[in-house]
Amino acid sequence: MFFHIVLERNMQLHPRHFGRNLREHLVSKLMKDVEGTCSGRHGFVVAITGVDSIGKGLIRDGTGFVTFPVKYQCVVFRPFKGEILEAVVTMVNKMGFFAEAGPVQIFVSNHLIPDDMEFQSGDMPNYTTSDGSVKIQKDSEVRLKIIGTRVDATEIFCIGTIKDDFLGVINDPTAV
């Protein structure tokens, strides 16, 4: 799920940036530091949409660096247990398949793939129904349900299932 929230961060800035462009430097450093990172609480920071306020800088003893408390708005992405997500399959093997939804890595075990879908090995491994009408392979798009999440400093892992109503392939790359 996406959220638009306000976060706060203490930014350290090198004295060479002090000048009339200080604000720009601060914002670009903020983007560089924060965008694309994860936090266990908020999830993956997709983009910074605005800077609300920059507090008073505090000069650090000895270094000359200045610390600014910065409040900023950002879009974050965090998967939740029970959430339905759409993801792109990255790897299919006999244990199940791996999929990605942006920064989130999802594993769907073959226990959680409908029983009528069977693994087919080969140079393009896939899960296929017995009549061949539905096929999950690399680059397929699937709709899945998250049953477990773990957010690391840089990555988000999820366990998913497609063994439920209205879940499974939503497009077929071979059909295009």
Partner: protein, 464 residues
Amino acid sequence: MSLLTDSPVHSSSSDDFAAFLDAELNSNSSASSPVEEDGDDEDESNDEEAEDDNELEGKSVKRCKVEMSANIHEHGSTSHTTLEHKIGKDKSLKIDICTHPGSFGDMCILCGQRLEEESGVTFGYIHKGLRLANDEIVRLRNTDMKNLLRHKKLYLVLDLDHTLLNSTLLAHLTPEEEEYLKSQTDSLQDGSRVNLFKLDFIHMMTKLRPFVHTFLKEASEMFDMYIYTMGDRPYALEMARLLDPNKEYFHAKVISRDDGTQRHQKGLDVVLGQESAVLILDDTENAWTKHKDNLILMERYHYFKSSCRQFGYNCKSLLELGKDENEPGGALASVLKALKQVHSMFFDELGGDLAGRDVRQVLKVVRKEVLKGCKIVFSRVFPTRYQAADHHLWKMAEQLGATCNTELDPSVTHVISTDVGTEKSRWAVKEKKFLVNPQWIEAVNFLWRKLPEENYPVKPTKEE
């Protein structure tokens, strides 16, 4: 419930409905005997006659009945909810007793629960953070086995260094080697024609063994192939890229040192294949102490001088000699032939149940064909007072199908000797038997065929 509140307002219709319900209930409960149905009909006609008392009585009776039915209904629903409760409990129980067949990023792959302790075997080579428990591995192996046998395939685990290729650090190249290689690689832009690659970013020079591309192509039709190397992960992946640029063979099947479960040992526990269907190609026997029966030992491929030195050989490397293994007669071609033989025997010649077959037995049989009919006597090969039958050459000869003997007799075909001066050697010359040096048997073991004996003469010792 709504029935009851409605009844005073539209009494007649509700009564009708109640009657209908009664009829339904009766017919449901008492197997719809015609007599009772008749009685019900009479009741209905009574209702319609509209005698007050009767009606009241009838109503009260109906009410009772409706209430009863409501009760029944309620009861039913409550029982239903209790059932649901039960199912819910079962579910929670199920989650509690989930066997956690494996984990991904420390979460169970089945129930999504966070797992505290790490258990099972890591499969980092398939995907980061993936672990599987032993039961799950067994289950996967079984299902995969069926799948594979249907495609008439077996597993093949390949070693990299000295088996499929030879690598050296750039720093270990001698100046002459560098000179020569420069002339080689400069003349051909990317080195792919001579199978020589300079990998600057890992400071390595790699030479692929001749015939390796054909080998992989043909082997891939018979085997599901894995790479298993003692090198580290980036090196293994880089080599896999050289061997398999289109990622046809080794997709997510590259196992490196970091993935093994034991130090300095290779094990089939991280290979998702049943041991009875796995063949291994490696140049180091000691790495596979637990799986010797699956192993096909390869002759080491030494292209660079540093690799010879590494093993303490004083011989000249292929590069120094300015030549290479020849393609059709080289080690890989010979082994491919043996693999084909094993494969066809496994699928076509063996009778009985496919799942019950064991490739290790087949390998033994094929190996036994190589020197079938040979009777070998060793002379001055084993140290004195050494149990001859324990020597590795003796065992090797027996595995290759030869019979070994300690004493001479007319049926002996080969005398393996290190010295022409021994009694047995002289006997061999006199009786026109083959007299070969011990390298012959080793070469036969590597190349899977009886080699011309003349190429392995016993040289006279210096004193003579």
